[in-house]
């Protein structure tokens, strides 16, 4: 039987005796050694390089492309950034712009980018395993290498590893960073950026220390239950508290409330209206003429929000506030909340009464219709206090008796490099870091009912932007050589002295930037003293007409006293000066009629300034830039002249182009502008 068994025969032939065994193993070794290089020959990167050569053979510039192609493994090595990238072994044509029509990977040239390929390599921006030479290992998550390629829609995150300032080409990252600050993420999470600074929140959640003066327990309850039901634009997140929990929190907040400085202020005198006056209607038009809508929004009949987003939405404010609190607040907001961004207007009793009538009429009868709360008791208040402290309410709001928690939520400084083995994915979700971060922002409680993070009211675009901003927080951003980090200083200028106190009172920097600090809603005032004439400034403070008819947002009227106006104007004229603005900068004696005539020609014919500015309301219509019909009364000739020569020198980023005027041209246009003195109230088109 065994005689005929071929396998036994074979075994005997090759391994029957010791010399035979030795010979067999030797032959086997020789064969293996001989065929081992074929594995390299059949490797993926050689395959792609052969395919590339086939691709370029048929092209018009084949000769040039062939000459530039170097076979073999390519590597970009940047030791100080820990970059060893062999991606260019297969992506051979990244720098061949003539292959722009090729859509097939890995042979597409890289789209235009701000850095050269050899400066940072590939993985700094795209992630993945740079040293790998197979498709699987380079692009995907493997046991040895967790970080897969970053999906294209998050690539902007990589720019944020070095660039702290908003870049032109990264709108999504910029939006994400604004949202991180605006939605108050940084109240609970510490987010250290590569330059070492922490993300600073820009929202100012109101103090709750005197909340019982402002609103009712019922309103607090309804608000906590669903902030967006009260105001669609509210940034307060939803904690999904049960009715019971929300009642307890509302009870606690009312019980901890103390009386504010305002509560001791006398109420404004009651104004009685004659029958011919409809206070609500008058108040509505006052709300309009005071430009409250620059900061506050109200939903119109069509359901669209009209107004700014700097301050709370007022669509249902009549259902919220106590009328006495409102009139005191309108008088002196800082008396209730010293940190509020609302300016202290100098309203008279009539204005307070009219505005109150209008605001109290913005009421939604349904909002609190079904809210009936039981009497609060000590147990409920104690439970409410525990919830307030457990859920970190004091991280955002000031609350009596509850200290702001420290490091309340996980530090997100390096979230973009969080190891995947530490991540608890939900069943069914793609197991990648971007999907995890986006999922966590969209619905945090889905990752565990005991988690405290609330649900924010965000659109898909906003979630994607926030994810991008967080993905920039990588280990690499921390280890990046500091000389590569790009961040500009963020000055904290505040005016001093009596004028400083007045400007603080009026919250000028809520809208105006001065010396690099302040809002961007209104013109930069850093050099206002060099720019404007005193007479104009005094007049403008008294009656601020807009210079830009197209804008919805305008300077409000503060009802300042003459003494306040003079003091403030003189301070600005003295303090907000640019250098080199003495009389030698421009010989004003030559700004004569001849020069003005030449300047007019230049203004209308050569440079077509009227396409953006109005010099004459009868003929010009441009309204990109400020109206210039009265500019001769407004601006000093030296400023006009210097500004025309180089606008960006005084206002970096201004949309006004630098026309590269000759000195004579700038002189003549200045001469023309000084003749424009049409005093027109209102200035609207």
């Amino acid at each position: 039987m065994s005689q005929r068994n071929p396998i036994a025969k074979m075994v005997r032939l090759f391994a029957g005796t010791a010399p035979r065994r030795f010979a067999s193993v030797s032959v086997l070794l020789a064969v293996v050694a001989a065929i081992a290089p074929t594995q390299d020959f059949f490797s993926q990167w050689r395959y792609y390089q052969r395919r590339y050569k086939e691709l370029i053979r048929t092209r018009a510039d084949a000769h040039r492309l062939e000459r530039r192609f170097v076979p073999g493994i390519h590597q970009i090595w940047i030791p100080e950034q820990h970059v060893v990238d062999r991606c260019t072994t297969c992506h051979v044509a990244l720098q061949e712009t003539s292959l722009g029509d090729v859509r097939k990977e890995p042979f597409r040239p890289h789209p235009p980018m701000p850095h050269s390929l050899t400066e940072f390599g590939c993985v700094v921006c795209h992630h993945g395993q740079g040293a790998a030479t197979t498709v699987q290992e380079a692009h995907y998550s493997t046991k040895a290498w967790e970080q897969p390629i970053l999906p294209a829609r998050y690539t902007e995150a990589s720019c944020g590893q070095c660039h702290m300032d908003a870049l032109g080409g990264t709108p999504q990252l910029n939006l994400g960073r604004r949202l991180l600050a605006r939605y108050g993420c940084a109240h609970c999470h510490a987010i250290a950026q590569p330059d070492g600074t922490l993300v600073a929140p820009v929202d100012e959640p109101p103090s709750l220390q005197h909340i019982a003066e402002k609103t009712s327990r019922e309103w607090i309850f309804a608000w906590i239950k669903n902030p967006q039901a009260y105001a669609a634009s509210a940034t307060m997140p939803n904690y999904r508290f049960s009715d019971h929990e929300a009642v307890d929190i509302a009870s606690f907040l009312v019980s901890q409330s103390t009386s504010s400085a305002n509560s001791r202020a006398p109420l404004p005198k009651n104004v009685s209206f004659t029958k011919s006056v409809d206070p609500v209607q008058e108040g509505t038009s006052l709300y309009g003429t005071l430009f409250c809508a620059s900061c506050h929004a109200i939903q119109n009949a069509a359901g669209n929000l009209v107004g700014g987003e700097m301050a709370p939405e007022l669509t249902r404010v009549g259902s919220k506030v106590n009328p006495e609190w409102l009139s005191r607040w309108l008088r002196a907001p800082q008396g209730y909340d010293p940190k509020t961004r609302m300016p202290r207007y100098r309203f008279d009793d009539m204005q307070v009464a009219l505005l109150s009538s209008f605001l109290l009429s913005k009421k939604d009868e349904d909002f609190l219709a079904n809210v009936r709360l039981a009497q609060s008791d000590a147990a409920s208040i104690a439970h409410g206090k525990k919830l307030v402290s457990d859920y970190g309410c004091a991280a955002c709001h000031r609350v009596n008796g509850v200290a702001p928690p420290e490091s309340f939520a996980p530090d997100l400084s390096r979230i973009g490099s969080k190891p995947l083995f530490q991540v608890g994915f939900l069943r069914g979700m793609p197991e990648t870091l971007p999907d995890y971060i986006a999922g966590k922002i969209r619905d945090p409680r889905a990752f565990g009912p005991a988690l405290k993070m609330p649900t924010f009211n965000l659109t898909d675009t906003q979630v994607e932007a926030l994810t991008t901003a967080l993905l920039a927080q990588t280990d690499r951003a921390v280890t990046m050589p500091p000389e590569l980090v790009r961040s500009s200083p963020r000055p904290k200028y505040h005016p001093g002295g009596d004028p400083g106190r007045l400007m603080e009172d009026l919250r000028c920097q809520s809208c105006h930037t001065i010396n690099g600090n302040g809002g961007d809603m209104a013109p930069d005032l850093t050099f206002e003293g060099s720019a404007v004439r005193r007479t104009w400034l005094l007049d403008f403070m008294k009656n601020p007409n807009t210079l830009r008819p197209a804008l919805i947002r305008r300077m409000p009227k503060f009802n300042l006293s003459d003494a306040e106006i003079q003091g403030l104007s003189d301070y600005m004229l003295y303090a907000y000066q640019a250098s080199g603005f003495d009389s030698q900068a421009l010989d004003q004696s030559t700004l004569n009629a001849d020069a003005a005539a030449r300047g007019k020609q230049l203004f209308y014919e050569k440079y077509a300034c009227q396409s953006c500015h109005v010099a004459d309301y009868k003929r010009d219509k441009g309204y990109v830039g400020p109206a210039l019909a009265d500019v001769g009364n407004r601006l000093s000739p030296v400023w006009m002249y210097r500004w025309l020569n180089d606008p960006a020198a005084f206002l970096p980023g201004t949309p006004m182009p630098n026309f590269n005027l000759t000195e004579a041209e700038a002189h003549d246009v200045t001469a023309f502008l000084t003749t424009l003195k049409e005093h027109k109230k209102g200035g609207s088109k």
Partner: protein
């Protein structure tokens, strides 16, 4: 023994034939068959590479009488695109919508939407979307700041359009491929850098040479090319 080996090999071949092939036929079946498919909304959106489009693409199937048909099957496909869902039945109003995620390569994307017609044919419609890469995004940012107020009659209420305030000739919209596709890159760069008069055009286009960098000007041109309608075909680059 040999029979065993042959049987085994045969089994391997047979099993490999039954690979994990996904069912080709869709899970949805068309209840009715239309004659025409049309785009309702969601075309010509401009977004960053790889991102989800803000608005879904909405399609409608019409019957022989020209009225919208409910229950008709719509299938979506497109190179590099991801649809959620990729196929759907039209609702009571005869429409179906899908969210679209763009591919990672900048450029134009075509959504091919089809619906079965009676007789085994399919009716198709092509909807185009635009993905912006880094350069075109930078261009959009600059265009929004410096160009759009005059070049786009539809700029938002916040930045009111200056288009109607200009004296004729009025500016071309940047998406106007019929006009701008005929311009060379060099001419576009020149008119942005040196103003309208260098090409015999209106001085209402200022010279941006001293305001924008060369990189920024090229980015604006890239943006103009990216959003051109009809799409811009770059001339064959031969050296």
């Amino acid at each position: 023994m040999r029979r065993c080996v042959i049987t085994f090999l045969g089994l391997v071949v047979a099993l490999s034939g039954c690979s994990r092939r996904k069912p080709v036929n869709s899970s949805l079946t068309s209840k009715v068959q239309g004659t025409q498919i049309v785009e309702v909304s969601g075309g010509k959106q401009v977004a960053g590479v790889g991102s989800k489009l803000t608005d879904p693409v909405v399609l409608q199937v019409n019957g022989a009488d020209g009225n919208a048909l409910a229950g008709a099957l719509i299938k979506l496909s497109g190179d590099g695109l991801v649809f959620t869902p990729a196929e759907a039945l039209t609702d009571a109003s005869g429409q179906a919508s899908a969210a679209v995620q763009l591919g990672g390569i900048p450029g134009n994307y075509e959504i091919v939407a089809e619906t079965p017609k009676s007789g085994g044919d399919t009716a198709t419609v092509i909807v185009r979307e635009v993905a912006l890469g880094y350069q075109a995004k930078l261009g959009r940012e600059i265009s929004d700041k410096y160009c759009r107020t005059c070049h786009d009659p539809e700029s938002s209420p916040e930045r009111v359009s200056n288009f109607d305030n200009l004296t004729p000739p009025q500016p071309h919209q940047f998406s106007d491929g019929n006009v701008l596709n005929r311009w060379t890159d060099a001419d576009l760069i020149r008119i942005i850098a040196d103003g309208g008069p260098v090409l015999g055009k209106s001085p209402q286009t200022p010279a941006y040479r001293n305001t924008l960098t060369q990189v920024q000007i090229k980015a604006v041109v890239a943006y103009i090319r990216a959003i051109a309608e009809p799409p811009y075909q770059s001339p064959a680059r031969e050296r």
